[in-house]
Amino acid sequence: MEILELFSKIGIYATMALVLVFALGVVALRNLFHCALCLAAVLIGTAMIYVALHAEFLAAVQILVYVGAVMTLVIFVIMLTEHLGGKTIRQTNRQSPAAIIGLSGIVVLLGTLLMKTPWPVTAKALDAKVSVMSLGKALMGTYAFPFEVISVILIACLIGAIVIAKKDVSEKGPS
């Protein structure tokens, strides 16, 4: 069975590499629609990594919420704001070289720190299986308050988004 494990390892690293490539696409492509599609790919790839980390529920939520809803919203707005077939104009500002230098510094710094730090990995945690039921119990028990707060925020933002995007009083906002 080691071979199968090897396969899955290869699969995970390949997914990671692909996700990084698509992430670069998100920030570097000129056509915004392509960027959004790359982001969708990144999100799906991350969901796959979640599955590999035994967080299937989270993966499903990620796809449902991010890809199904947020991405649709993003693409919708892109469609509304970009002209169909319009020429792609310069998408980056002049901070780009500075940003690259600074960020590579941060990456190197944090990366070395990450590699140097001894991360304690407990065997109990490795064995622990998170079922949907235990997640639900935690949400409704330990984290009931944050959960409610989140729902209030969601409602508030829903109303806020509609109010902001609304054109004038006589017309309906996007649903």
């Binding site: 996700v19 999100l43 590999a52 967080a55 989270l58 919203l73 990456v107 989140i150």
Partner: protein
């Protein structure tokens, strides 16, 4: 865990850095918003990875990730609504063209 924790952390660091780069250099507001989604994603990945390896209650990481996803969705909704409103008034979605600090 199949792959070592460090690798996941490095991966999420790279993802985060890419997202941050996007936030810093993008002119288009929608571009900035989707780069922020990238960063949030990297953070989520960290949460999951840590919850798999530490002795906290195993649900914690996932639940926080779910919260993050919910917040990200609200952020996207409000942000995009603002973009739409801005576009309607200014006919542009480029940050450096919206520099009047007024509507």
């Amino acid at each position: 865990m199949i792959i070592p924790l460090q690798h996941i952390l490095i991966f999420s660091l790279l993802l985060f850095a890419t997202g941050l780069y996007g936030v810093l250099v993008r002119r288009n507001i929608i571009g900035i918003l989707i780069s922020i989604e990238l960063m949030l994603n990297a953070a989520n990945l960290n949460l999951i990875a840590f919850s798999k390896s530490t002795s906290l209650a195993p649900e914690t990481g996932q639940i926080f990730a779910i919260f993050v996803i919910a917040i990200a969705a609200t952020a996207a909704a409000v942000g995009l609504a603002i973009v739409l409103a801005l576009y309607r008034v200014r006919k542009t979605v480029y940050t450096d063209e919206v520099n009047l600090l007024k509507w």
